[in-house]
């Protein structure tokens, strides 16, 4: 889906960033079907990794887009608990309507993203450092304010049936409704990156920011927009988890940082920017979630999952490099005139 291509050929397949991640997903799926037995492939088994993939995936896509645009956002690790605490404090502790909590959490996400984006654009400090700063700042703020306001680090929240239905119920008793939000996010971002003209801007910015600006792209506004989207997505995941589990904790998000980056890279996004696809990120997220959860269905100890993920990441990076080289050198039957 990297480009709406009319005739799939070997060349057009090679040019797609998700080709490698599809192969990786197939391999991992096969592995766990063989070793995980029928439980892994069952509907319940699928739910376990789909649920993990959904909340991770909602964050991984905007993170991936930022990486395609040549930036990185690790402050999401604090934005997930900040989003869920904001929602829980406003709607649980203070008892305001749930919509107020949801909107406040999203606004906080937008604000943190705006700060990230403005700092990156104005100071030209690498976004890793900027968002490392906001990662700690937001974590401290969440902890400090939570204790100050509620006296605890964990707040319960009781959502009404509408909020539960939209954000926090299990479809068929096992599938989190978050999966549908993930699908919606994937369709939205897939349209933005691959079909809308703005996708071209994001790819160009990651390829060569100076040339992109010279070509008339408002690079600063796009950068700020993408940072706002990633922070808001993290806040969204946080608040929907709070509504799902009826409570919010101060520390429940740091794992998202690495997991999202792994999903994005396994999904074929180039670390240096300028190359990647939403389908690839979705496949990468699924791959990660399958390894993460599938291990429990195998006779192996769960500790081995990290080893598999580590190896998978390295293989993915190497494979991405190879595919990219092949894509670059691919010429359709050079006609000599």
């Amino acid at each position: 889906m990297s480009d709406p291509s009319p005739k799939p050929s070997f060349g057009s397949l090679l040019r797609r960033p998700e080709t490698g991640s599809f192969l990786g997903l197939a391999a991992v799926f096969l592995f766990f079907t063989v070793f995980g037995g029928s439980n892994f492939a069952s509907l319940t088994g699928a739910a376990s990794w789909l649920n993990v993939a959904a909340s991770l995936g909602i964050i991984a896509i905007p993170i991936g887009l930022l990486m395609i645009a040549g930036e990185l956002d690790i402050s999401i690790g604090s934005m997930v608990p900040a989003g869920s605490m904001t929602c829980a404090i406003i709607s649980g502790h203070f008892g305001l309507p749930i919509a107020v909590g949801v909107i406040a959490a999203l606004c906080l996400g937008a604000l943190v993203g705006l700060v990230n984006g403005m700092l990156v654009v104005r100071t030209a400090v690498p976004s890793f450092i900027v968002t490392l700063g906001t990662l700690f700042a937001v974590a401290g703020l969440t902890l400090g304010l939570s204790v100050l306001i509620t006296g605890t680090t964990s707040v319960s929240i009781k959502a009404g049936p509408e909020a539960k239905f939209l954000l926090g119920h299990f479809i068929g008793g096992i599938y989190q409704v978050t999966i549908l939000w993930w699908i919606a996010a994937a369709i939205f971002w897939g349209f933005v990156l691959h079909y809308s003209p703005y996708g071209n801007w994001i790819l160009a910015m990651g390829g060569d920011k100076v040339s992109a600006r010279n070509a008339g792209i408002p690079t600063e506004r796009v950068t700020i927009f993408l940072f706002m989207c990633s922070s808001m997505s993290a806040a969204f995941v946080g608040l929907s988890q709070a509504i799902l589990y009826n409570s919010a904790q101060v520390s429940a998000g740091q794992s998202y940082i690495f997991n999202a980056i792994i999903s994005v890279v396994v999904g074929g996004v180039l670390l240096t920017g300028g190359y990647g696809s939403v389908v690839g990120i979705v496949l990468g997220t699924l791959t990660f979630a399958i390894v993460n959860q599938g291990i429990y269905y195998t006779p192996f100890d769960a500790n081995w999952a990290s080893l598999i993920i580590g190896v998978l990441l390295l293989v993915a990076v190497l494979m991405n490099n190879t595919f990219r080289r092949m894509a670059l050198s691919y010429t359709p039957s050079r006609k000599v005139k």
Partner: protein
């Protein structure tokens, strides 16, 4: 006397404490090629960056078609019909030819918020534009730019500027990376643009290329305009000396010769 399309008056540019351009006055006429010449670091690229909206002048005014032009961004300049090929870059290695060509000016199809990037149109126009420049090896707009040779990428950047340069076309050392044949194609394109009534600003270090296309020459030395003359006003030797920043090239060449003869092998 024709009226100038683009006029620069008293342009100064400094980056913090570094003064790069001093009091530049220049007129660019439609249907003419202005060759901007000068040594490395003379300020040529900086001057054209002011015209393409990348930088703003510290002081002085730019007038386009009689109206003052203060470009806040490259987008403003391109909306005013000024297209630029910057010295380095301009293409995106991991994007397809079609997408790279239309960065920032994407052709769209469809309706309302669902407008999509028109890949087919983009590819067709990009491939045709590059082939018009003489790069006939390119047939597939889906190919990635990074797979092209340096000269082919340069041709792609020039083709883009020619396509979007409605009134002013600025080329910063467009022939530097090109082979003899491709350079000739670029010179032909420059002359074609000139014939269409476009004002062309052409930066080069190559005397032959400058003399082939230039109607009007401006020489920068250390950020100041050192000479401004029309075709035929100066001899080739005088132009060469000016391009070398005012050094006597003949003396330099004599020195090289004596060095070569005193250090045989």
């Amino acid at each position: 006397m024709p009226t100038p399309l683009l006029t620069l008056q008293g342009i100064n540019k400094s980056f913090g404490p570094i003064d790069v351009l001093h009091d530049i006055n220049l007129e660019v006429y439609p249907g003419e090629v202005l060759c901007l010449l000068g040594d490395n670091g003379a300020g040529k690229s900086t001057l054209i960056r002011l015209l393409s909206g990348v930088h703003k002048p510290t002081s002085g005014t730019i007038t386009l078609a009689g109206k003052p032009a203060a470009f806040a961004s490259p987008r403003d300049a391109s909306n005013a019909g000024i297209a630029t090929v910057h010295q380095f870059g301009g293409t995106f290695p991991l994007m397809s030819i079609g997408r790279s060509f239309f960065v920032g000016e994407e052709p769209k199809k469809g309706w309302g918020p669902f407008k999509t990037f028109d890949r087919k149109t983009a590819n067709d126009i990009a491939v045709k534009a590059v082939r018009d420049l003489g790069i006939t090896r390119i047939t597939d707009g889906d190919r990635l730019v990074g797979g092209l040779s340096g000269g082919e990428r340069q041709a792609l950047a020039i083709a883009r500027a020619v396509h979007f340069g409605a009134s002013v076309l600025i080329l910063d050392e467009p022939t530097a990376a090109l082979g003899v044949k491709e350079a000739a194609h670029v010179l032909r394109i420059v002359l074609q643009a000139r014939q269409k009534g476009i004002a062309v600003i052409f930066i080069t270090h190559n005397v032959v290329h400058a003399l082939t296309v230039g109607d009007h020459f401006a020489v920068l030395i250390k950020g100041a305009k050192a000479a401004d003359f029309r075709k035929g006003d100066k001899t080739r030797e005088e132009i060469t000396d000016l391009m070398a920043g005012g050094e006597q090239m003949a003396e330099l060449e004599a020195e090289i010769k004596s060095y070569m003869s005193s250090h045989p092998g």
